[in-house]
C-alpha cells in the first residue's frame, strides 16, 4: 500500500532532484548488477562454452554462432533475471518506504537501474572483442567473417535483457512474474523459422545462415539483412527503457512518445531485416 501511496505522490517537483546523483547511482547499480551471482554465472557459462567450443571445435558454423549469438543464451537470460532481482530488491525487502522518502526519486532510481544495464553490456563488448582476438590468434575457421552488426547482436541482447529486467521489476511486482516474462520471450523467439525468414525477429537468431555466402542460398533461401537486425535489437532495448521509465516518471507523455518512436523504429528495422 505504501508503495502505491508513494507512487501516487510522484509529481513534477521530482524533476528538480539533483541530476548529478544519477551517474553515481547508476555506477553503484551497475556494480550491483555485475556482482550479482546470476550475472557472474552467465559470464562463467559463456566462458565455459567458449573453452568447450575452442577445445573440441565443432565446425565453422557453431564457431560463428558462438561469437554472434552465444551471449544471448548464456548471458542474456541470466542478466535478465539478475536485473529484475536487483531492481526489485528494495520492494522485496520491504524497503520502499525508507527509500521512497529520500531526495532521489523513484524515477531517478529507475533511470539509474536502466543505465546500469550498460555495465554488463560493456563487459559483454569487451568479452566479444577478446573472443574475436582469440579467434584471430588461433585462426579458428568460421562460416564467413562476421560483420560488426552481427558481432554487436550478442551484447545488444545482453543490454536489452538488463533493461527489460528493470521494466519487468517495475511493472510486474509479483513473485514469479519474471519467469512468465521469460516464457513469453522464448515463445516470441520461436515466432518464425528459417524457412519463412522470420527467424530474425527473435533474439537468439542463427546468423550464419544470413549474409554473403548463405549455405541455404543454393536451396532458394533469401537471406535477410543482419545489419537491420542489430538496429532492431537496439530499438527493442530503447523500447524496454522507455517502458521502465513510463512506470514511475511524472513525464508520462514524454516516455509514451519515446516508446512510440522506438516501437516505430523496431517495426521498421524488424521489417527491413526480413528476407
Amino acid at each position: 500500500m505504501i508503495v502505491e501511496l508513494l507512487e501516487s505522490h510522484e509529481d513534477h517537483e521530482d524533476l528538480e532532484d539533483k541530476v548529478s546523483a544519477l551517474p553515481v547511482l547508476a555506477l553503484t547499480e551497475a556494480r550491483r548488477l555485475l556482482r550479482h551471482p546470476l550475472t557472474l554465472l552467465g559470464f562463467a557459462l559463456f566462458a565455459l562454452s567458449v573453452v568447450t567450443e575452442v577445445g573440441d571445435y565443432w565446425g565453422p558454423r557453431p564457431a560463428f554462432s558462438l561469437i554472434t549469438n552465444g551471449m544471448v543464451l548464456w548471458l542474456g537470460v541470466l542478466v535478465f533475471f539478475a536485473a529484475e532481482l536487483v531492481a526489485s530488491a528494495s520492494r522485496r525487502a520491504g524497503g520502499d518506504e525508507l527509500l521512497g522518502v529520500l531526495p532521489t526519486s523513484r524515477t531517478r532510481r529507475t533511470a539509474a537501474s536502466c543505465l546500469a544495464a550498460l555495465g554488463p553490456f560493456l563487459v559483454a563488448c569487451l568479452v566479444q572483442a577478446m573472443l574475436c582476438a582469440g579467434y584471430a590468434v588461433w585462426e579458428v575457421p568460421l562460416e564467413r567473417p562476421p560483420t560488426i552488426f552481427e558481432l554487436a547482436s550478442g551484447p545488444l541482447c545482453v543490454l536489452g535483457a538488463g533493461v527489460l529486467g528493470v521494466a519487468s521489476a517495475r511493472w510486474l511486482p509479483w513473485r514469479g512474474s519474471s519467469m512468465l516474462v521469460m516464457v513469453a520471450l522464448i515463445l516470441y523467439n520461436n515466432i518464425g523459422d528459417e524457412a519463412t525468414g522470420r527467424h530474425l525477429l527473435g533474439f537468439y537468431a542463427e546468423l550464419p545462415i544470413w549474409g554473403q555466402w548463405p549455405y541455404r542460398a543454393a536451396k532458394g533461401f533469401h537471406p535477410g539483412n543482419t545489419d537491420w537486425h542489430a538496429v532492431y535489437l537496439l530499438a527493442l532495448c530503447l523500447g524496454a527503457g522507455a517502458l521502465a521509465m513510463l512506470r514511475d516518471s511524472p513525464r508520462r507523455w514524454f516516455w509514451l512518445g519515446a516508446g512510440a518512436l522506438t516501437l516505430v523504429l523496431a517495426v521498421v528495422a524488424g521489417w527491413a531485416q526480413l528476407p
Binding site: E13, L25, T28, A93, G94, T104
Partner: protein, 281 residues
C-alpha cells in the same frame, strides 16, 4: 522555532479515520509520540516523513508546506520506518552508502567519511563490513538509525525504534537518541513510556487519532498525581497485581488510600483508560 506544526489534520483510510483533527507543535529536542495501537502514531509519522498527504488540515515541516515543497523537506529529513526493510545481502557500509547516494551525497570521499561517521555514531564501526543478514535485530535497528542520521538532518523521525531491543541495547539507544536530540528535532513514536521518561523533553499522547495530551513528561506524570495507590484488593479504574502481592490502582482514590508517587505510565494509563490497557499495554 517550531519545526513541526500540525493543525486540525485529518487522514482517513476508507471509512476509518486514522487521524481526526489532530493538532500539536514541536521544536528542537526529543518529542515522544505515545499511544496505543491504532492511535494514529504511524500514520502521523508517515505524514511527517512525506510518505502520506493530509486529507484536510495543515502541516508545516521545517517552515515549509510538504504538499508543495516536498523535496526541500526530504533533503533535511532523517526517517526510520517501523519496518525499514534492509537489503540483507548488503554489508552495513554498503547499505548506508547506498542510502547516502540516494540522499544526494555524490562526492565519493565526503560520502564515505559521512557513512563512517554515522556508523561510528551508532556504535557499529566494528561490524561495518558484515552483511546485514548476519546482524542481530538490535544491530539492524542501529543500521536504520545510522542511515537516518546521514547528512545531519534537522528533523529525525523514528517509528518504534526500540521494538525488539534488549535492555542493554535500549540503554545504548537512549544515549544515542538524546545526543542526536541536542541540536535537532527528533520525533519518536513509541509504546514505551520508559523511553519517553528517559529521553523526551516533550510528549504528545495520541488516542483515536486525536491529541489526548501535549506537554512535558513531568506534566504527564502529574496527571496521575493523587490517583495512584496500593491496596490488597483490586479497587481502581485500572489496577494490576504487583510483585509484592499488592494491587496498584489508578483512578479516583478512596479517602484512606495508600497513595504512591505516580509514573509517566500511570499518567498515560489514566489518560487513555481502557484503550491503553486493552490495546496498548
Amino acid at each position: 522555532m517550531n519545526t513541526v506544526v500540525v493543525t486540525n489534520v485529518v487522514k482517513s483510510y476508507g471509512r476509518y479515520r486514522a487521524l481526526d483533527g489532530l493538532s500539536f507543535t514541536t521544536g528542537p529536542g526529543v518529542t515522544g509520540l505515545l499511544g496505543p495501537n491504532g492511535a494514529g502514531k504511524t500514520t502521523l509519522i508517515r505524514m511527517l516523513a512525506t510518505v502520506l498527504t493530509v486529507d484536510s488540515g495543515t502541516l508545516r515541516l521545517l517552515g515549509r508546506d510538504p504538499s508543495a515543497e516536498r523535496l526541500p523537506i526530504r533533503r533535511r529529513l532523517g526517517y526510520l520506518p517501523q519496518e525499514p526493510g534492509f537489503h540483507r545481502s548488503f554489508t552495513v557500509f554498503e547499505f548506508v552508502d547506498y542510502v547516502a547516494i540516494l540522499k544526494e551525497l555524490t562526492d565519493r570521499r565526503e560520502r564515505h567519511d559521512e557513512v563512517r561517521r554515522v556508523i561510528a555514531e551508532v556504535g557499529l564501526a566494528a561490524v561495518s563490513g558484515k552483511r546485514i543478514r548476519a546482524l542481530s535485530g538490535g544491530m539492524r535497528r542501529r543500521v536504520g538509525i545510522a542511515q537516518a542520521l546521514l547528512g545531519e538532518p534537522e528533523l529525525v523521525l523514528l517509528d518504534e525504534p526500540t521494538a525488539g531491543l534488549d535492555p542493554e541495547q535500549r540503554l545504548r539507544f537512549r544515549d544515542l537518541i538524546s545526543r542526536i536530540g541536542e541540536n535537532r528535532t527528533v520525533l519518536l513514536a513509541t509504546h514505551q513510556t520508559e523511553d519517553v521518561a528517559a529521553l523526551c523533553g516533550r510528549v504528545v499522547v495520541l488516542d483515536q487519532g486525536r491529541c489526548a495530551f501535549e506537554g512535558t513528561p513531568e506534566e504527564l506524570r502529574r496527571v496521575a498525581e493523587g490517583q495512584v495507590w496500593l491496596s490488597p484488593e483490586r479497587s481502581g479504574m485500572l489496577s494490576w497485581r504487583t510483585g509484592e502481592g499488592l494491587f496498584r490502582n489508578i483512578g479516583g482514590a478512596p479517602a484512606a488510600a495508600r497513595l504512591v508517587e505516580p509514573t509517566i505510565e500511570d499518567g498515560y494509563l489514566l489518560l487513555l483508560g481502557d484503550a491503553a490497557v486493552g490495546v496498548g499495554s
